[in-house]
Amino acid sequence: MEGVVNVAPEAKNRLTFDLAAQPLRELNRFLHHDLAGTGVTHVDVINPDGTHNIAVGVDAPVRIDVDGHAGYYCAGMNKLAQVNVNGNVGPGVAEGMVSGTVHVKGFASVSAGAAAHGGLLVIEKDASLRCGISMKGVDIVVGGSVGDFSAFMAQAGRLVICGDAGDALGDSLYEAVIYVRGKVASFGADAHEEPMSDADFVAVEELLARARIKHDPKQFRRVASKRELYHWNADADQEY
């Protein structure tokens, strides 16, 4: 993946949308309906200014560079596209992503990568609460720290946290795996630390390389499900 740098678009396979001058719908309509026939492989979005729903539901192997801060649900439901955001994103970035890559240079608000099935989500700075909530196969790499309730009910995929994790990390985890480098404020129900296997070190190394974030994989710990919630335990204390 190339760096997230915008240059003046000159090539005919490259197109710019200026959201200060054009409604968002023009961009998304182009990406959904008109892209295929044009030969455009690279779309620049300038002056995003926190607009919601930028490049949602894209279903094509196109590169989209957003130069600035995006609002809610940026690159939601992404399939195949490579979306780079040279700024911060609001809630729900790459929610429901199926494949492709979403790379955020800044921070992400709540629910980053929520319920995403596949692809790679990279957040270079912090991600807020509920990062990777109910993730279903996506890989998420966070260069900074994540907020409380991250990977809540996460079902599949991997969440790499290069900084610290907030409270209730991995609450009610299924088969998703978390790799954390910093401190964990607290584990959620059924989440615990496990020894790193050789395969885990390889996985972290590979994910960090794809995210272009440099750390020593040996510094990471594995958090996974104790699988005690998989079965109802009638003998357990049912007082809440």
Binding site: G50, T51, G71, N88, S109, S128, L129, G147
Partner: protein, 299 residues
């Protein structure tokens, strides 16, 4: 949903532009709160012995001259009144303890929106752009302000239930979210002689914090005690004489984003309403962490 905005200018020469800088912020939050809008602006302080009261009348055309004459006749004192349609700011040397009960008795159709030496409040139902134009928000001057666009969930759409809410003097609060125990708070405060103007949940939070501060808490401790007492979702933005304060509940379901430069601190529910501020592209932009109290003081 609702939208909150706040702006504190750090340089005295920017105080003249406070309203015009804020305008795109408030308008940018229209989708989050299209049914009412309001704003509290903190101005130069009146002398110690003077007070001003923001008043709201039920009709746009109101006999403010008659009101003023009756005020002067009753109190036998000087008063100045600045009017803007159904809103007026009365300046006088009578304390709130005299003015509020008198107004409630003689002019029961008027709402006293706030009292103090610095704060003016304008709030009404309608689209934020219309409300802002109605009261010339773009011409407002001062050190800091808090604004709100409302999408009502917890009480009716009426001018007095629009935000900001106020309690005591020179203190106001806007809220994005909903409280689940406002009546519990009311039942705690009303026996202490604290009266409520509306059935709105935000008013309960506002009066709770103001009560804590009268009991001796500073703003930070008052907010911290709210972590135990106030149940629900909230991003609260508060204005006091010398500061803006921001806090989000532990679950941070209600958004907030801050942009800070050498010239200003700007707070909004979403970045899109900060995007028109000068120099914002180079601002320190961050998302406030849940249950952390952010206070910015007027320099």
């Amino acid at each position: 949903m609702c939208g909150i905005v706040g702006l504190l200018v750090k340089k005295p020469q920017l105080r003249e532009q406070l309203g015009s800088l804020m305008m795109p912020m408030l308008i940018g939050m229209t989708e989050r709160g299209p049914d009412s809008a309001g704003l509290a602006v903190f101005t130069e302080a009146l002398p110690e012995d003077q007070r001003k009261y923001s008043l709201c009348a039920p009709e746009w055309e109101y006999d403010w001259a008659g009101f003023e004459a009756e005020f002067i006749r009753h109190f036998g004192t000087e008063a100045a009144i600045r009017t803007k349609g159904n809103h007026a700011v009365l300046t006088c040397d009578e304390p709130a303890a005299s003015v509020r009960p008198w107004a409630a008795r003689v002019f029961p159709d008027l709402h006293v929106l706030c009292a103090g030496r610095q704060v003016d409040i304008y709030k009404d139902i309608g689209n934020p752009a219309d409300v802002a134009a109605r009261y010339d928000f773009d011409t407002l001057t001062g050190t800091h302000l808090v604004g709100h666009t409302r999408m009502a969930t917890e009480s009716a759409v009426t001018p007095d239930r629009a935000h900001p809410f106020t309690a005591g003097e020179d203190f106001c609060l806007v809220h994005n979210g909903s409280l689940s125990n406002p009546y519990q708070i009311r039942r705690k405060l009303e026996p202490l002689g604290i009266r409520f103007d509306t059935d709105n949940d935000t008013e309960a939070a506002c009066r709770y914090f103001e009560w804590r501060m009268r009991e001796g808490d500073d703003l930070e401790s008052a907010i911290r005690s709210g972590f135990d007492e106030l149940d629900g979702f909230y991003t609260f933005l508060m204005g006091s004489r010398e500061a803006l304060a921001l806090v989000r509940d532990a679950f941070a379901c209600k958004p907030a984003v801050v942009a800070e430069t050498e010239d200003y601190v700007a707070v909004s529910s979403e970045y899109r309403s900060l995007a028109r501020l000068p120099g914002v592209k180079n601002a320190n932009v961050f998302e406030p962490v849940p249950e952390e109290i952010y206070v910015w003081r007027v320099s």
